[in-house]
Symmetry: C2
Subunit: 427 residues, 2 copies
């Protein structure tokens, strides 16, 4: 534990990076932490016959924090999550996730369906109804076939297992190409602590399947307000720092459960570092799985007045159609990057801008440098040819001054495939 003790004399960012290194990836996902159970089954909600109903059950005493879509048009299940979390004071134990129908724009009936599903599940789990949450993802405006969902609850509960994380991760997918789960382990205060996670969404880009869902689990106890505050900070630097096409879903949700012996105050920072690693890994997996994407795009911005502002610039660059098409065309087009940065609404001195694409510096003092255009283009092509989520990341680094704020954002390239998928998709 020497590392943890030592680093507190370092800068906050060095601390965070040193603390992150305490965590090592392990097999499994959301049910990897002690006491968590998960399940995923095929209830018949999807025409495709793929798994479509998932359940995550946290052990007794769990606290749950949630972050939800900021869209005004939000699904009934999001309203229910917010209500139930408030009613149980953040002591939720279970979340049911159905894929196939988003239960958005379904009016009064949508709300009643969400409530009925949570009531039915609460009965089977012998929990107060407000401790049961529900998330939905799928087609907007179509009600959930409730008979099918309700008939699936018994087999779903029966399937609960501490090895069920992968099944759950599979059952929450809609048009994703790959499952997204991740788990970490560290020794904190002499005991083993695990963090698990799963997510879905190939961007928030799907026509009527527009949802980003993220779930985190952890086998230590954390005071509920501290846990909620931690989740907010973590989500701001992970799921909220990721963009595929700028469209925010009606159903976006991230839920995090913590349950176990209370973690000592002095280890909270290390826990947060691990939570951030897990959430960023899931966010990157979502961006990489963006429709039509051929690589992950990572933008690092430094020298800004604050971290929030740095992330805003990074996300604006990540979200620029011109930057995304340039990356797709393997074109080291520095002009598009700096032009996008200038539109983020964050003040900086254009004459101070320095820019790197991977190892290639393209700008200094706000003006273009001579650089090896072919090599820079080859850098991008090599990333595209790299292996999935290992070395397929095109990195852009933008320094815009000498401020202490920095931040990162993730996205993907914009391909003609994206347009074809979204134009040809018929409701």
């Amino acid at each position: 534990m020497a590392l943890v003790e030592d680093v507190f004399s370092l800068s906050p960012k060095a601390v965070s990076s040193a603390l992150a290194s305490l965590w090592r990836p392990i097999q499994g996902g959301v049910s990897a932490p002690l006491g968590f159970q998960a399940a995923g089954i095929t209830a018949g909600l999807k025409d495709s016959g793929k798994p479509d109903l998932a359940l995550l059950l946290a052990p007794e005493g769990a606290v749950c924090a949630g972050m939800f879509t900021t869209s005004l048009v939000r699904a009934a299940c999001v309203d229910l999550c917010v209500d139930h979390l408030q009613a149980c004071g953040g002591k939720a134990r279970a979340v049911l996730i159905n894929s196939g129908q988003a239960n958005a724009c379904t009016g009064e009936r949508g709300w009643l369906d969400s409530l009925r599903a949570s009531q039915a599940l609460a009965g089977r789990l012998e929990l107060p109804v407000e401790q049961v949450l529900i998330c939905s993802t799928g087609v907007i405006g179509v009600p959930i076939p409730m008979d099918t969902l309700l008939a699936g609850l018994d087999p779903l509960v029966e399937a609960l297992s501490d090895e069920g994380g992968a099944e759950a991760a599979g059952a929450i997918l809609t048009t994703d190409l790959v499952e997204k789960q991740f788990a970490l382990e560290a020794e904190l205060g002499g005991r083993s602590v695990r963090i698990g996670g799963m997510a879905k969404g190939s961007g928030m880009i799907h026509p009527d399947m527009a949802t980003m869902l993220g779930y985190l689990s952890c086998d230590v106890g954390v005071e509920v307000d501290a846990w909620q505050a931690m989740l907010k900070r973590v989500v701001d630097c992970s799921f909220n720092a990721m963009t595929v096409d700028g469209d925010t879903s009606t159903n976006d949700s991230c839920l995090a459960f913590a349950a176990g012996e209370l973690l000592e105050q002095e280890h909270l920072q290390a826990l947060e570092a691990g939570l951030l690693v897990a959430a960023q890994q899931l966010a990157k997996a979502i961006a990489r799985d963006g429709e039509g994407a051929t690589c992950l795009l990572e933008v690092q911005v430094e020298g800004v007045v604050g971290d929030v502002e740095a992330r805003r610039i990074a996300r604006t660059v990540c979200g620029s159609s011109l930057v995304k098409t340039a990356v797709h065309g393997r074109d080291p087009n520095w002009g598009r990057i700096v032009a996008a940065a200038g539109c983020a609404g964050v003040p900086f001195d254009p004459a101070a801008v320095a820019l790197w694409l991977g190892p290639h510096q393209l700008m200094e003092f706000g003006e273009p440098l001579p650089f090896d255009r072919l090599a820079a283009s080859r850098y991008m092509q090599e990333r595209v040819d790299g292996s999935y989520l290992c070395d397929d990341t095109v990195q852009i680094r933008l320094v815009v001054g000498d401020g202490s704020g920095d931040g990162m954002a993730w996205g993907c390239d914009l391909s003609d495939q994206y347009v074809r998928i979204n134009a040809d998709y018929t409701t």
Copy 2:
């Protein structure tokens, strides 16, 4: 003039619409108003050998108002326009426009080049240098070949003519497919008043040619502060209500010149109505010419708390990649439209939403209505098959409550062609 007098008892929006009907389109463009001269020549700034240098000269006593890019990274010529307009108290007379090089990210040298060009032109026109403005559009980071530009000034000034509007409109283009000019005439207070305009930009979407430029001219005198305020209102409801891909250029500028006998106060509102018609026509022409676009997209939002908020929703819908690809796929995907509206950051009651696609109502009270999907899709296909800027507009109407605010925005569909153009474009 009965119409003008009568309408003042109507609501502001009815007034504006009645006043707009006073204006009739006439042949010509920016040099149509009395006393305005324009020219466009091939100076050799573009490799393509296409026209690349334009000049607009307003008569003595002109006032000039300007609106410029909000991007932090803005071109030297924009800085110069702002400085000169301030120095001459809005009494600018001429604007030189070069296409081929944007003169952005060119540092100190870029500023000196802009200054030198305006000085050289001022000498030839016998004007104080601060009355001469300059706009540039083209590749970012590449200096203007100054010898070529300066050598072009004599033939450019010689070519000045009150019939030169079309040549000027041609010489400011970069990758636009079509010229964009427009002129209007009305009788105000017993005399004939003309408004002329030209613009360039096939969206703000071009890699290093990212610029939207708009020019308006008018042959009546207007007090300079009133003219600037009028231009701001007009641009907010035209050029600023248009989006192709959300990327804002380093060079975006709109300049409006007014010169002639002072217009009576009572006719200012009618003048503004005409200016708005002209600017909207040019903005629509830009959106329609968006790269890869197959139709114009017009979104009307009603029932919002204020007009500004209504325009924000309209522009968010216009800018949504999911809406744009749905239109390209001729898919009446109401879910994407209402989801985009919900993310505009403007409060409304989702349960009050009603939505129309052309004549087809798709939603009422926040829920989907049964509608003829094939007919709605056919409506979009017919627009795409319609004639250019006449009947090729896909119209979306969104009513989100009973507020008095409304607003419109324009955009275009997103095609795989857009991606190919921008991915294959090599700097």
